[in-house]
């Protein structure tokens, strides 16, 4: 069985001594790697199939544990289903395998689960003097004939959440999968049976293929582990992984195998991207707020400066004269304007607070538009205009009714305000739910239009006006945009001077 040999070989290369025992009361040894055999001075044949306590009094001695203590540790791991770590002192300086300056080691016991059952225990011995690790536990010869119980090994590999695979090097640049663990299947979505035995170019898609082949070659030439980050498209979706390959060489110095590991960092990458978007949004929002403060202070100052100037003159103007009346009238207007700006501020802040969004409900756009049409009936008649509402009655959105009313009111009253003098006004309001992602309402008029090349993005900005005279305060479209954004929608405009304008209002989704 090529597969078992491969696994056993890969496992036996670990310099940290490992021992796998069954979880039943006999604690039969199922697998021991070469490093462990060297450490306790017994061969694999002696160890396998026997109870750990009979086979390895030597191990207990090395770990300075008594049999009851070890059984107690086993029991603890079996019950808690979590690993147990225990610091032990490796005494005996005369030990032939232990260097004199090794101060201690710890033993970790962890469970291998099948479902909710602990079926095997793995004992791992780690010497605290890392530098001496390889000297101390270096295995003397590679034992390819080691036949580890197949199930134990597979379970160890499959219990890992990182992707693990081995590639046999058949000739220069030709690699064939000889092993892949369960995580490989989970991460890529490719069934393990369909991967093992396949060549790399049959499994890994371009453009990743070119990259990985280059990296494999690099690992072989440099005779060391090579790591890189990689994005690939697999049946399970786009995956970002941190990949490492380690080359293995035979006695003649030829690379016969690559051991690969992939740490799936897709979620991490996605979170990173999301965070970046969030930061950009916040940055934009902050800039909007700065702009908003600047504009507001300016628009508060304008009527205030007028009032201040007028009041300064007033003591010198004879009461009751026509000029005096003019002053009083302008003073009133200035203070009223000041009041309007403060009211605007209040309104905008309340939308920004999103406090009104607590009373959202499914609202039919056709009903809201008809209501607005009714409210603007007099203005429409005076302008000699026609309003045609053609909205699918099933076009309903989860929204604040007051916001929707404000949006429709502003857009329709704008169309009346900025109508063309050359032709009778026609306003058409239509719905468009062909794009499921972005259901839209279009407000189209044949009015005087806007030169969008000149106005650009300013059209939705606060207190920006595009017509001379006092008509319009430059808040309507700003409110429309703010209302929509509070409901996670957005607005677009198309216009041709002297032809007309279409405002398209997009909503997040329709109510089913």
């Amino acid at each position: 069985m090529a597969k078992i040999q491969t696994i056993a070989a890969a496992f036996s290369h670990t310099v940290i001594p490992h021992l796998v025992v069954s979880c039943d009361s006999s604690h039969t040894v199922r697998f021991a790697n070469a490093a462990l055999c060297n450490l306790i001075g017994q061969s694999q044949e002696e160890l396998l199939g026997t109870s750990i306590f009979i086979a390895s009094a030597r191990l207990l001695e090395l770990l300075a544990l008594t049999e009851p203590q070890l059984i107690q540790l086993f029991e603890q791991v079996r019950v808690t289903k979590t690993s147990a770590k225990r610091l032990v002192s490796c005494h005996d300086g005369s030990d032939r395998l232990m260097a004199a300056d090794i101060k201690g080691c710890f033993c970790e016991i962890y469970p291998i689960m099948e479902g909710s059952e602990v079926i095997h225990l793995v004992i791992q011995v780690v010497v605290l003097k890392g530098a001496l690790l390889s000297d101390t536990f270096e295995f003397k010869q590679q034992n390819h004939s080691t036949v580890a119980p197949r199930q134990s090994l597979e379970m160890i590999m499959d219990s890992l959440s990182n992707v693990l695979f081995t590639l046999d090097v058949e000739s220069v640049g030709v690699y064939r999968f000889s092993f892949a663990n369960r995580a490989f299947q989970v991460t890529t979505g490719l069934p393990v049976e369909k991967v093992i035995g396949k060549y790399v170019h049959e499994v890994i898609p371009e453009p990743s293929l070119t990259i990985v082949l280059g990296k494999y070659q690099e690992a072989i030439v440099r005779k060391q582990q090579v790591s890189w980050q990689e994005v690939s498209h697999y049946p399970a979706g786009q995956k970002t992984g941190e990949v490492s390959v380690i080359p293995m060489f035979d006695a003649a110095g030829n690379c016969f195998r690559l051991v690969g590991m992939v740490h799936d960092i897709t979620e991490h990458k996605e979170a990173e991207t999301k965070q970046m978007r969030l930061t950009e949004d916040l940055y934009q929002h902050n800039r909007d707020l700065e702009q908003f403060t600047y504009i507001l202070s300016h628009n508060l100052r304008a009527p205030l400066a007028n009032a201040l100037g007028l009041v300064r003159h007033l003591p010198d103007v004879a009461a009751g004269t026509e000029k005096f009346n003019q002053y009083v009238s302008y003073l009133t207007t200035s203070i009223e304007n000041l009041d309007k700006v403060l009211k605007d501020l209040n309104q905008i802040l309340s939308i920004r607070d999103r406090q009104n969004l607590f009373d959202v409900e499914p609202v039919a756009l056709t009903a809201v538009c008809s209501q607005v049409g009714e409210a603007l009936k007099a203005e429409l008649a005076q302008a000699g205009g026609q309003l045609k509402i053609d909205i699918d009655p099933s076009f309903k959105v989860q929204a604040s009714r007051a916001y929707l009313y404000s949006i429709c009111y502003n857009l329709i009253s704008n169309a009346i305000k900025y109508r063309s003098k050359d032709r009778p006004l026609h306003i058409n309001v239509t719905s468009d739910s062909t794009m499921e992602e972005e259901p839209a309402i279009h407000f189209t008029d044949n009015g005087s239009g806007i030169d969008l090349e000149k106005t650009g993005k300013d059209i939705f900005k606060l207190y920006k006006r595009f017509h001379s005279g006092t008509e319009g305060r430059g808040i309507g479209l700003f409110l429309v945009k703010t209302h929509l954004e509070a409901m996670e929608g957005h607005i677009k405009v198309q216009s041709k001077p002297n032809r007309g304008t279409t405002f398209s209002v997009f909503f997040k989704e329709l109510v089913r």
Binding site: R301, A302, A305, L308, G309, H313, Y330, H467, S468
Partner: protein, 127 residues
Amino acid sequence: MNIAIIDDDPISIFLTEMSLEKEGVWAKLKSFMSAEEALQVLEAHSLNDLPDVILLDLNMPIINGWQFLEIFQHLPAAKLQGKCAVYILTSSLDTADTVKAGENALVKGIIHKPITPEDIGVILLSN
């Protein structure tokens, strides 16, 4: 002295006119409600008819004060050379506007609304 006021706010124009009158400025006043209107008229003026002083508002629809200056400085140079003194007359207290005004060769000064007798004194002294 000829003075032109360019401002889209009629109350502000009224106040500026009254302030000048109050200070006894014996001037020919011409007021424009928009920058376009002002540009049209100024372009058609002969050198002698150009105003000595322009009081220019910044925050106006369509063409704002800065855009006006941009166009105005491209009018035939002979007409402008030392002829028109432009003063920004704004309700803005933003220091960025003050800095920008200082950098513009056409602008002689920036006045914050409402215009005061002192401001008018300075204009009269330097023109």
